[in-house]
């Protein structure tokens, strides 16, 4: 199943946030969206996932989702969006409750999702008992339970400290490695984008337009190698030089607002 951003523009009142953004995410592909703060990255993701109606243009799907997918387009949120009154397993089961699945089938999906994120021992814990990294693992586990075709990840690591970020990044690389799931990964962190994505969509400052779509020249599987790391660093620098001046302008603008 492909996800297509088709001439998406969006305004909040007088404020133009996105301007004619188009790109296509093929099945199993990982696309990162980067850009200066306030460039509409998260807005674009909300539109792609059907949580926000664009002022013009549309998010479109092409092709059928995998037959076993319960929620083809599934979000992973920056602030985790866990139900604080529910345990880890109840949070993971939450999106399954309204489906036709039997309790045993739900249980099997929950068990599998918890196991894939290393949460099995924490299934009875409440979110407030967990560290930020574990909370986001619950968010990922919940997303995996519905067997998504495409993960829509909205700065999933930016609420976490750098060590936790590194650990979760390794999880993301592993989960997306087999190409069974695609992802749109919104981030302001160029290193995350370069490590995870097949292509990087670079947005301009508000109103966000596509400045460039950069294809990462190394396959995802071989990015751990030393030679690859240097190339990725060069790529990051190249993208940073694209957005640096705009990032400075964006920062000034935010401070004046």
């Amino acid at each position: 199943m492909d996800l297509i951003a088709s001439h998406i523009s969006h305004r909040f009142g007088d404020l133009a946030v996105l301007d004619d953004v188009s790109f296509t995410l093929s099945a199993g592909e990982v696309v990162a969206i980067v850009g200066p703060s306030g460039c509409g990255k998260s807005t674009l993701l909300s539109i792609l996932g059907g949580l926000l109606q664009p002022t013009s243009g549309a998010a479109e799907l092409r092709g059928a989702p995998p037959a076993d997918s319960l929620n083809p387009l599934t979000f992973v949120f920056q602030d985790f969006a866990l139900l604080p009154w529910a345990t880890v397993e109840e949070n993971v089961e939450f999106p399954l409750l309204h489906t036709q699945l039997s309790a045993a089938q739900r249980r099997a999906l929950v068990d599998d999702a918890l196991q894939r994120t290393g949460l099995t021992d924490f299934r009875k814990a409440y979110p407030k008992q967990l560290s930020g990294g574990m909370r986001q693992r619950v968010g990922i586990s919940r997303a995996l339970a519905v067997k998504p075709a495409i993960l829509l990840m909205d700065e999933p690591l930016s609420a976490l400290d750098s060590q936790t970020r590194e650990l979760l990044m390794e999880d993301f690389v592993r989960l997306l490695a087999d190409g069974g799931m695609g992802a749109v990964y919104v981030t302001h962190n160029l290193e995350e984008a370069a490590r995870l994505a097949d292509r990087i969509v670079v947005l301009s400052r508000r109103p966000g337009r596509i400045r460039e779509v950069v294809t990462v020249p190394i396959t995802r599987a071989s990015r751990g190698e030393t030679a690859a790391r240097e190339k990725l660093l060069a790529l990051q620098n190249q993208i940073w030089s694209l957005i640096r001046n705009e990032a400075i302008d964006a920062e000034r603008e935010v401070q004046h607002a």
């Binding site: 996932g49 059907g50 949580l51 929620n71 387009l73 599934t74 979000f75 949120f77 602030d79 969006a81 139900l83 604080p84 009154w85 529910a86 939450f94 999106p95 409750l97 309204h98 409440y126 407030k128 519905v146």
Partner: protein, 275 residues
């Protein structure tokens, strides 16, 4: 590489080091465990001593022992239960009716744009009315029995409940609702599994307020016109200058308030343990 300087290698300096003065004391909102009880016991003891020694006129301020005696005599004679049960019935029925309606209307306002625009207008207009002022009108409408008293309590409880419920619904984090929508969770399930538990803290906090509103209104209503009930009893005792009886009634009201507060506190720890 980090520079590691062994203690012996520290730059030579003959001056003796001074300890950094601790300046972070106080300003912690903590109370000592028995302080409150000791203070209460102390006040009662002084009160009793002043009464026993004859410093205080027993007519104007009976001593604690006289109040306890009055409560005991009321209990033995059966009058206590007669008054308490009459008040409890009014509070119970009135509070339940007001709460049920308030929760329903509060949820409607919290969830529906139409209900919000209509509901908030009426609530803003009617909430500030002291509900006891409506008792005479309610007596005209409903007769002189239990109904107008119960209706007064229900009205008072209703408005506070409706306001705390819709504020609670409004305070449910939007990101949780968006999360549920992103998983195609249907409206009814979102209300049951996200909005209801999310609003529950505010609803229970509202119960504390409505319980005291109900107590206030039951006493007021009983003072205006009732044969039995704590309010009627206190008023009667005052008219007859039986201040020990009067204060016995006040103590019973205070105990009732405390018990209700404890019950709500228990509900909160049971239902909101996740906080």
């Amino acid at each position: 590489m980090l520079d590691r300087v062994p203690a012996a290698d520290m730059p030579a300096n003959d001056e003796a080091p001074r300890r950094v003065r601790f300046r972070g004391a106080g300003f912690v909102p903590a109370s000592s465990r028995f302080g409150g009880w000791i203070a209460l016991a102390l006040v009662i003891a002084i009160w009793q001593a002043a009464g026993s020694a004859g410093f205080v006129n027993q007519l104007f301020l009976p001593s604690p022992s006289a109040i306890v005696r009055a409560i005991y005599e009321l209990a033995v004679s059966g009058a206590l239960w007669q008054h308490v049960s009459a008040s409890l019935l009014r509070i119970g029925v009135g509070w339940l009716l007001g709460t049920a309606a308030g929760v329903a209307v509060g949820f409607a306002i919290g969830l529906s744009r139409l209900a919000r625009s209509v509901g908030i207008t009426f609530i803003s207009a009617l909430f500030p009315i002291p509900k006891i002022a409506l008792l005479p009108l309610l007596i005209l409408w409903l007769g002189i029995g239990e109904e107008p008293k119960i209706a007064t309590i229900a009205l008072g409880v209703f408005f506070s409940t409706a306001i705390s419920v819709y504020s609670g619904v409004d305070a449910v984090p939007r990101n949780l609702i968006r999360m549920a929508q992103s998983f195609n969770v249907p409206f009814a399930t979102i209300v049951r599994k996200v909005i209801w538990p999310g609003a529950l803290p505010a609803i229970l906090a509202g119960f504390r307020i409505t319980a005291s509103v109900a107590l206030l209104l039951v006493v007021s209503a009983e003072m205006i016109g009732a044969q039995y009930g704590i309010g009627a009893f206190v008023l009667q005792a005052g008219n007859l200058m039986q201040t020990d009886q009067l204060l016995a009634g006040v103590v019973i009201l205070s105990v009732f308030g405390l018990v209700v507060g404890k019950v709500i506190g228990w509900l909160e720890t049971r239902l909101l343990h996740w906080r």
